[in-house]
């Protein structure tokens, strides 16, 4: 989850807010961010490092590239977990329906 203090200071910079807006459209590499922002690659990399440190973006390794994307928000993560719980419960309770139906003749 994002560290709130670090997140707020990261968001105080307009370039970093613009980078987040770009990443909201989908994953991008440093080179793909250099062009629209007309900044040098080291400057973009510095901004990305701040965003990553604040927990606002995550990066993966793909060969020599390290594409970045928005970090899943806490809300999205809870939704994912609740979805898993719901599916697990639905599966179990559907099975329980069968168990209860089989108990009836005993009565």
């Amino acid at each position: 989850m994002a560290n709130l203090d670090a997140a707020f200071s990261a968001l105080a910079d307009p370039t970093r807010r613009a980078i987040l807006a770009r990443l909201a459209l989908g994953e991008a590499t440093v080179m793909e961010l250099v062009e629209p922002f007309e900044l040098t690659q080291p400057a973009i990399s510095r901004h990305l490092k701040v965003l990553e440190g604040a927990g606002l973006i995550v990066r993966r390794v793909e060969g020599t590239k390290r594409p970045c994307r928005l970090a899943p928000t806490a809300v999205a993560e809870i939704d994912q977990w609740l979805g898993m719980l719901r599916r697990a419960l639905e599966t179990n309770y559907d099975r329980l329906d069968g168990v209860l139906a089989a108990m009836k003749p005993e009565k």
Partner: protein
């Protein structure tokens, strides 16, 4: 088939409801008797519960052990706090993944509903670390099996 509802209550609790086509006594027994629990409280397809301990009294121990039959598994321990046959169970549980998750207090109510039962279960929303550990147990992959099974049935 009765639909399950799942809602968050504030940011700390989860409330689940489900209707069953059997009286409260049967649903309560299916939630507390090992030989019945082992038939349904299983999770993904292929998983079994070879160990099921349910000491049905306040303070009594709960221990469920699950295995996928291929070397993976985990277990849950807990204690019954309050038992009101056949209408209410309060228990505390924790999963061992393998580190124990924080205690989850669960209250389950069984109310007569026509010729069936309306079950209401209130549990604590686990913290972020616990949720991540639970998502990582491989339950997700198992859930895909369940989806596949549902697809075959429909």
């Amino acid at each position: 088939m009765s639909k399950l509802t799942l809602k968050t209550e504030g940011d700390r609790y989860i409330v689940v409801t489900r209707r069953f086509g059997a009286p409260p006594e049967a649903v309560y027994r299916a939630h507390t008797e090992p030989e019945l629990l082992q038939k349904w409280l299983l999770g993904p397809e292929g998983w079994t519960m070879p160990v099921c301990i349910s000491e049905l009294r306040p303070g009594g121990k709960i221990r469920y052990e699950w295995t996928d039959g291929k070397g993976d598994g985990f277990h849950l321990t807990g204690e019954y706090l309050e038992l009101e046959p056949f209408s209410r169970i309060v228990h505390v549980e924790r999963m061992h993944l393998p580190d124990p998750t924080p205690d989850n207090r669960v209250e389950t109510r069984f109310a007569p509903d026509g010729d069936g039962t309306l079950m209401t279960m209130r549990m604590t929303l686990p913290d972020a670390e616990t949720r991540a550990a639970m998502l990582a147990t491989g339950m997700e992959h198992g859930m895909e099996d369940s989806y596949a099974r549902l697809d075959r049935m429909s």
